[in-house]
Amino acid sequence: MNALAARRRHPAAIAILLFLGLALVGTAYSLLAPKSAQAAVSTADDVALGKQLFLANCATCHGLNAEGTKSGPTLMGVGAASVDFQMGTGRMPLAGPNVQAPRIDKVKYTEEEIAAIAAYVASLAPGPAIPEGKETTGEGGNVALGGEIYRVNCAMCHNFAGSGGALTRGKYAPSLYGVEGKYIYEAMLTGPQSMPVFNDTNLTPEAKASVIAYLKMTQSEPNVGGMNLGNLGPVSEGMFIWIFGLLLMIACAFWLGQKAA
C-alpha cells in the first residue's frame, strides 16, 4: 500500500486523474448534451445572427469583413468547419496573445451561436463545411489501417498515443485525449494553426474515419500494463524508476541496516 500511496504524488498521477476526469466529463457530455439539429442547413436568419455575433466577438482581430488584420488572419474561405473547430474546442476567441491558441474545455458559446457564426463565415467564401455523418464518429473505420495512417501522418507531432508533442519555439501539437471525433475530423480537414491540411484527396473520409476509430479504440482500452505514466515514452519511465524505484530500494536498504529496537 505504501508504494501506491507514494505514487499519489507522482506527476503522472495528476495527468491520469485529469484524463479520467476528462473522460468522465466527455462521456457524461455525450450522453446528456442535446443532439445538434441539422447544423448544415443554414438559413438567412442564421447568417444575419452570425454576422452580428461576428462583429461583436471576432471582428477586432479578423476585421469587420473577415478580411484579416495584423492580429488575426483572414477567414475568407476557411469554411464553416474551421469556425466550428476553433470555437467548438474553445480555442477562439483567443483570450490573449499567445504562440498558439490553447484548447479550452469550457466553451463560452452555445452550439447555436457557433453554428450561426460558422454560417456567416461560410457565406463569405466557399470552404469546407462542417462534416456530418458517421465518418466523424469513426464508425465503419478500419482500426488497423487507421493505426497505420495515424503513425505515418499524425504520430510524429501528436505522439504514438495522442499525448501531444513539442513543435518549434513554444508551439505544440496538442493532446488528442478526450477530443470529439468531429473536431479531430475538422482539424484534419482545415489544418488549424501549425497543423497541415489533410484534405479529402489526401486522406479520404474513410481514412479519416479509420484514424478516429483507431484513436477511440486505443483511448478507451484499459492500460493493460498498469499506470501509463502519461504515455510519454521512456522519459517518464526513467523518472519513475529514479524517483520511486530508487526510493523504495533505499528505504528497504535503510531498514535492513537499522538496529532493531
Binding site: A144, G147, E221, E237, L246, A253, L256
Partner: protein, 573 residues
C-alpha cells in the same frame, strides 16, 4: 511468566538450542562429509561463513544492482522461450485488436504475443524491463557511493575499473535489449544508431554495412542484437561481475571510520547466519518491489508504438534513460561540427556525442584513482572510507562530473520539458547548451563549500558539544544554551579522518640537482595538490578539545554562535 525467565539473557535463550559441534552424526552432516571428501570444501566454507560484512544502507546499492541483474537473467530466460528474434515480415493475427492484419516483424509479433497471449507474459516482460532500468540506476548510484567515499583507493583500483566497465556494458546491454521488440520507438533508436555508426571517420560506412548485413534496416540486425543481448554481453557481464565480487571478498568490505573500526579490521556481522538472512532476504525484497511496480506501472507499451517502419515516427522519441546522456549530448552539439575536409565528411556533431562520449567518460572515471593517487602521493592501503565531507575536493569533483551527466540526461528530455512546462524547445535547448558548461562549475564550487562548512560544523560539535536545547540563565542575567559534550564514541566518528596538507614545492637548491623536466613535473604536482588540499579543515585534536573545555569553564558559550571558526584559538574571550 516467571520472573526468572524474564531475567534470562539472549545468550541463555540460545544456549537451550541444540548445538551441532561436529559434522558427524546427522544426515546433513553425512552429506557434507561426502561432498568434502570429494572437494575439500569445508575449509573454505568455514572461512566464508565467518566472513564479516559491515552494515550501512549505502553498501546495499551494489546489491540492488546485482539482484536486478540476476532478476534480468531469470526473466530473460523466460522471455527467450517465446520471443522470436527475426525481422521477417508477417501479418499479425494475435489478440491485440488494433494491430490485427498489420504487417510486422516476427520479433514484434512475438513480443505482442508475450504481452497479450502468454499468461503472465506481460508481467515477466515488465519485470525484465523495470529490473533493467533499476540495474542501471543502482549501478549509477553505487558508482557514486564508491567514488564519494573514496572506496576506489588502493587496493581497490582494479575493482573500480571492472565496475566502470560493467557500468558501460550495462548500457550497451540495455540498448540491445530495448531494440529487440522492433517496435516503432526502438526501431527509430536503431535507425539513429546506424547514423551514429556511419559518423565514424574512415570506416563508418563499412562497419554499418557489416553490422546490418547491408543497407539499413535489413534482416540481420535483430538476430545479431539478440545474440549480443542474450549470449555475448551476459557472458561478459557475469564474468566481470564474478571478478568484481571475488575481489570484494579478497579485499574484505570497506567500512566507515568509527569506534572500534580501524584500517586493520572489519566490524559487522558474519555471513552465517546474519548476512545470509539479510542479503538473501534483500534479494527477495528487491524482486518483490520490482514485481509490485510491474504489476501496477506500464513500461514500454510496445503495442501502442506499432511496428517499426522507416517512414513513421513518434513525437518524443527518446531512448531508455541510461542512454539519455548520449542522446542529450546529440541534441546539444551544434551542426557546425560537421565539416568537409580533404574530400571527406567529418560528422563530429554526431561522432562526439554518440560514439566518442561513452568510452571517453568511462575512461575518465576509470583512471581517476591513479590521478588522485598521483596528486596525493598516497601509496597506502585504505580500508576505511572517507565521509564525503572529509574529502571536499574529491566530493566536489564527483558531484560536478555527475551534474554534467545529469544535465546531458535532462537535455534528452528537452521536448518533453518544453511541452510540459510550456516553454520553447529552442530556448530549452539553448539553455542546456549553456548549463552543460556552467552547472558542473557551480556544483563543484557549491559542493566544496558545503563540505567545508559541514566539516566546520563537525569541529564545532566536537569542541563545544551538541546543543542540548536547555537554555540557562546566568547570575548576571545572560542567557546561553547549554551544550552537552559528546561521548567518546560519538566524538571519534567526527575526528577520525585525515586532512592532508598540500605538497610544498621542493626548495630551489633541491631543484638544482634535477632536470628541468622533473622540476616542471614537481611544480605541476604541487599545483594539483594545492587545488585539492589548499582549503581544508583539520580534525579536532585532543589538545584543542582540552583548550576548548578550559575556555568553556570560564565562559558560557553564547547561544546561537553556531558558526565557528576553523581555528579554535579565535574563540571569543
Amino acid at each position: 511468566m516467571s520472573t526468572t525467565a524474564s531475567a534470562r539473557t539472549a545468550a541463555d535463550l540460545r544456549a537451550d538450542d541444540a548445538k551441532v559441534t561436529s559434522a558427524t552424526g546427522s544426515k546433513a552432516g553425512a552429506a557434507a562429509i561426502w561432498v568434502d571428501e570429494r572437494t575439500g570444501i569445508a575449509k573454505g566454507a568455514a572461512y566464508m561463513m565467518k566472513k564479516v560484512f559491515p552494515d550501512h544502507w549505502s553498501f546495499m546499492l551494489g546489491e540492488v544492482a546485482m539482484y536486478s541483474m540476476i532478476i534480468c537473467l531469470l526473466t530473460g530466460v523466460f522471455l527467450s522461450f517465446w520471443f522470436v528474434p527475426s525481422a521477417g515480415q508477417i501479418p499479425y493475427n494475435g489478440s491485440y485488436v488494433p494491430l490485427q492484419g498489420v504487417i510486422m516483424s516476427e520479433a514484434y509479433s512475438s513480443t505482442l504475443g508475450i504481452s497479450f497471449d502468454v499468461r503472465g507474459g506481460l508481467l515477466i516482460r515488465q519485470i525484465h524491463h523495470w529490473a533493467a532500468l533499476m540495474f542501471c540506476v543502482a549501478i549509477t548510484v553505487h558508482m557514486l557511493r564508491v567514488f564519494l567515499t573514496g572506496a576506489f583507493r588502493k587496493p581497490r583500483e582494479l575493482n573500480w575499473v571492472i565496475g566502470s566497465i560493467l557500468s558501460m556494458l550495462a548500457i550497451v546491454e540495455g540498448f540491445a535489449g530495448y531494440s529487440l521488440p522492433d517496435d516503432l520507438l526502438s526501431g527509430t533508436g536503431i535507425r539513429a544508431a546506424e547514423g551514429f555508426i556511419r559518423s565514424i571517420p574512415l570506416v563508418g560506412s563499412y562497419i554499418s554495412y557489416l553490422l546490418f548485413g547491408g543497407t539499413f534496416p535489413g534482416e540481420a540486425i535483430i538476430p545479431r542484437l539478440y545474440s549480443v543481448h542474450v549470449l555475448l554481453l551476459p557472458a561478459v557481464l557475469i564474468g566481470l561481475f564474478t571478478a568484481h565480487i571475488v575481489l570484494v571478498m579478497v579485499h574484505k568490505h570497506t567500512q566507515f571510520p568509527g569506534p572500534g573500526r580501524t584500517n586493520e579490521n572489519v566490524v559487522g556481522f558474519p555471513l552465517m547466519p546474519v548476512y545470509t538472512a539479510k542479503a538473501g532476504g534483500f534479494f527477495f525484497m528487491v524482486f518483490g518491489v520490482l514485481a509490485l511496480i510491474s504489476a501496477l506501472v506500464t513500461i514500454n507499451p510496445i503495442w501502442a508504438y506499432g511496428p517499426y517502419d522507416p517512414s513513421p515516427v513518434t513525437a518524443g522519441s527518446q531512448p531508455d534513460w541510461y542512454m539519455g546522456f548520449a542522446d542529450g549530448a546529440l541534441r546539444l552539439l551544434p551542426g557546425f561540427l560537421e565539416f568537409e575536409l580533404f574530400g571527406f565528411t567529418w560528422s563530429m556533431n554526431v561522432f562526439l556525442g554518440a560514439v566518442a562520449l561513452i568510452p571517453l567518460m568511462y575512461t575518465a572515471a576509470g583512471v581517476y584513482p591513479w590521478i588522485e593517487a598521483w596528486v596525493t602521493g598516497d601509496k597506502r592501503e585504505h580500508h576505511l572510507l572517507d565521509r564525503p565531507r572529509n574529502a571536499p575536493t574529491r566530493t566536489a569533483i564527483g558531484m560536478a562530473a555527475f551534474s554534467f551527466y545529469v544535465v546531458l540526461m535532462f537535455a534528452a528530455g528537452n521536448d518533453i520539458m518544453a511541452i510540459r512546462l510550456q516553454l520553447s524547445i529552442n530556448d530549452v535547448t539553448n539553455l542546456f547548451r549553456l548549463l552543460v558548461f556552467v552547472v558542473p562549475v557551480i556544483v563543484f564550487w557549491v559542493t566544496r563549500r558545503i563540505c567545508l562548512s559541514l566539516q566546520r560544523h563537525d569541529r564545532e560539535k566536537v569542541l563545544h558539544g551538541r546543543e542540548s536545547g536547555t537554555i540557562v540563565r546566568t547570575a548576571e542575567g545572560k542567557f546561553f544554551e547549554r551544550h552537552e559534550d559528546l561521548d567518546e564514541f560519538d566524538r571519534y566518528k567526527l575526528v577520525a579522518f585525515e586532512s592532508p596538507a598540500p605538497l610544498a614545492l621542493p626548495s630551489a637548491t633541491d631543484l638544482n640537482g634535477v632536470s628541468s623536466k622533473d622540476a616542471k613535473k614537481a611544480r605541476r604536482r604541487v599545483a594539483w595538490s594545492n587545488f585539492f588540499f589548499k582549503t581544508r579543515v583539520e580534525p579536532v585534536t585532543p589538545a584543542e578539545l582540552a583548550a576548548a573545555h578550559h575556555h568553556g569553564e570560564h565562559e558560557a558559550i553564547p547561544g546561537g554562535s553556531g558558526h565557528a571558526a576553523i581555528k579554535h584559538d579565535k574563540h571569543p574571550h
